[in-house]
Point group: C2
Chain length 447, copies 2
Amino acid sequence: MSMSEHTNPLGDKPIRVALLGCGVVGSSVARMLVESADDLRARIGAPVELVGIAVRRVGKDRSDVPVDPALFTTDAEDLVTRADIVVEVVGGIDPARGLLLKAMESGASVVTANKALLAEDGPTLYAAADAAGVDLYYEAAVAGAIPILRPMRESLAGDDVTKVLGIVNGTTNFVLDKMDTTGAGFEETVAQAQALGYAEADPTADVEGFDAAAKAALLASLAFHTRVKGADVFREGISDVTAADIAAAKAMDHVVKLLAICERTTGQNGTSGVSVRVHPAMIARTHPLASVRDAYNAVFVEASAAGQLMFYGRGAGGDPTALAVLGDLVAVARHIVAGGRGPGESAYADLPILDVGDSVTRYHISLDVEDRPGVLAQVAQAFADTGVSIETVRQHIRTNSSSGEARANLVIVTHAATEAALAATVDALAASEVVAEVVSVMRVEGA
Amino acid sequence: MSMSEHTNPLGDKPIRVALLGCGVVGSSVARMLVESADDLRARIGAPVELVGIAVRRVGKDRSDVPVDPALFTTDAEDLVTRADIVVEVVGGIDPARGLLLKAMESGASVVTANKALLAEDGPTLYAAADAAGVDLYYEAAVAGAIPILRPMRESLAGDDVTKVLGIVNGTTNFVLDKMDTTGAGFEETVAQAQALGYAEADPTADVEGFDAAAKAALLASLAFHTRVKGADVFREGISDVTAADIAAAKAMDHVVKLLAICERTTGQNGTSGVSVRVHPAMIARTHPLASVRDAYNAVFVEASAAGQLMFYGRGAGGDPTALAVLGDLVAVARHIVAGGRGPGESAYADLPILDVGDSVTRYHISLDVEDRPGVLAQVAQAFADTGVSIETVRQHIRTNSSSGEARANLVIVTHAATEAALAATVDALAASEVVAEVVSVMRVEGA
């Protein structure tokens, strides 16, 4: 790469990089640091020197990582004090937190992919970065190779973001996409995803939405300049999504996605705040998020001046994640060379986080009811009693195969209603003598 | 915005900004500079001072632009020497080129939205920026508010980009989308777009692909580290796209888009190089680009490590474009405060630009033929003679309404073939006695 000269107060003094972790992402980072050394030097204006890789065990065969074996160490505590930039790809809360705090106290900037730690304790890390005058970058923590955090911190920083809709977990998107294309059920599809390596042996963190909730917290914090923790995020996974839900979505030209939703909104009591939630929802097939297939990720942003934006790409994998890490590393290293810093924490808006009961959504409800006159009126009354307004009703007559009784299927889409009102409606419907079964209840997003 | 302190060698010395042009984008930029002054100061670490706005006539009513009327001047030559950053939103080659060169000679960094000038003479501007040690930023020149150039210059800089597919012209996308949804013809739809303000009175620059070609040149230059000028780009507009083409695409679940295609490829003679072209093409409705509706833009990128990425958003309009300008302005101002510079021109790869005759694509061909035995064999022979391999053939029998003769419609999709071979095939088909009409020939992309 031909680059013009940069101001470089350090001359050719190398930027010392310490790497914490050498798993799938870590070994990709190490390999790229070696293979792209000339390119990195040109982009940064100084050479990068890998000073050590902290691992749990030193003896393991790591011949696929093209570095001097002497660089591997189990003494992470010491390693973080010997670097200008500490790259952390270990994950988890501890010992990562203590190591990153120690690194920053020692004057090192931090590049991390650790969404769990940031969603748990981001403000403590930001405070340490501010105190030490160093950078804290974490592009790889959300949506892998997709540059989404940097645009939100930089390009959109002067705009007012009103809503973020994200497909931020590849495993659940893979499962829902396969359920959509094959018609298969949840359990069967998860087993298939496990066989293909798209889901872990214990898929809880993905399918129950914990991973997506941590990412939603990071997105909401940046979008609304407000501290949002993973624990603040309402969370509902996909394990209750049935083949019937998927079929119901298909019938109205929608598709079911696990969405991370961050919204600037006003609660029922008039409080202006933010709603942050992760749950499955139907979106129209014409919506840009509907085209996100397989294990891909995408983040859809609505902002006052910019309008609608979407960022799409691979959300996981060693190389995509390592690339995001390297992008951050170049930005941070250039700040070190030039003597500046990137943006720090921005939490000035400090908006209240609204209760999920206050959040307002449209709902799709599928009911099996008795096929006799007056049933629709009774069902409609249950909605009216609980203050939920109906947008459309569609009725299909069908014959129940086991009993031979005539049944009708009612598909109702509501106008926007609160979670609380909807829950009351569903309770009333379930208790109603004319309703044989509440087949599916699902939120509808992206209108 | 709460920001930590930055290193600031200038103290509170303001960053002087000169604005060239005060049309739709310019007035948005001026308004945002005033309304977001506190925010910009916090993000930059120094205040921004608007020192003048160059316009053609000073007398005009500009009461919607909330600045001191004394700032308006017709003396752009003088204004550019009094600024730290010159923002150019006038467009066109001259006098913009001379003004920006003078600005940089005087030590100012440049932020511009001028795709035509960059595609015509980018290297001269970059050389001036290098000589003066200043920044040249132009995020607003491609795809408005969508942050696409910065990711390509920074986040993806260490990756190998293999292909870029862009919908980079809102007018043509609006026209093609409306043709798809209404079934109307080209002329009629352009008239409708003009009435709605989506197309200019003289729509040539948009519908004939000149605007998209300039943007393709900028994307290809960044993607492949190679100088590509607008004139190097093969260009075919949408004025020959018929309702029959759109219907043919629909029949195979495809959609027609005007694509800017930048591809790292190998020519027929074995030369490794880049192919840069703008033309209408069919893409499958399941492709993420197919969901780009109305006047939206999107850029789809394939890279070795990152995989597939897509950036989607509003491609034009005062506020989205102004926001892109402001994002650049903050980046450049922060470099001034910190004493560094952003990335300069990267043209080290210097790859040959391949002739369009060498570029390889799949084709969709619709033919009206006589409905009698042996016709398909004769048609297939025409393909074989010209070395184009057939992927699928679909035949519909229909009765020609005017003559009453039985006709068949053949829809043929080829395997990848060169432009040159396809042109020979089409000539042979047109001359064949069994072919009544070549209804539609269109490239197929995004497989």
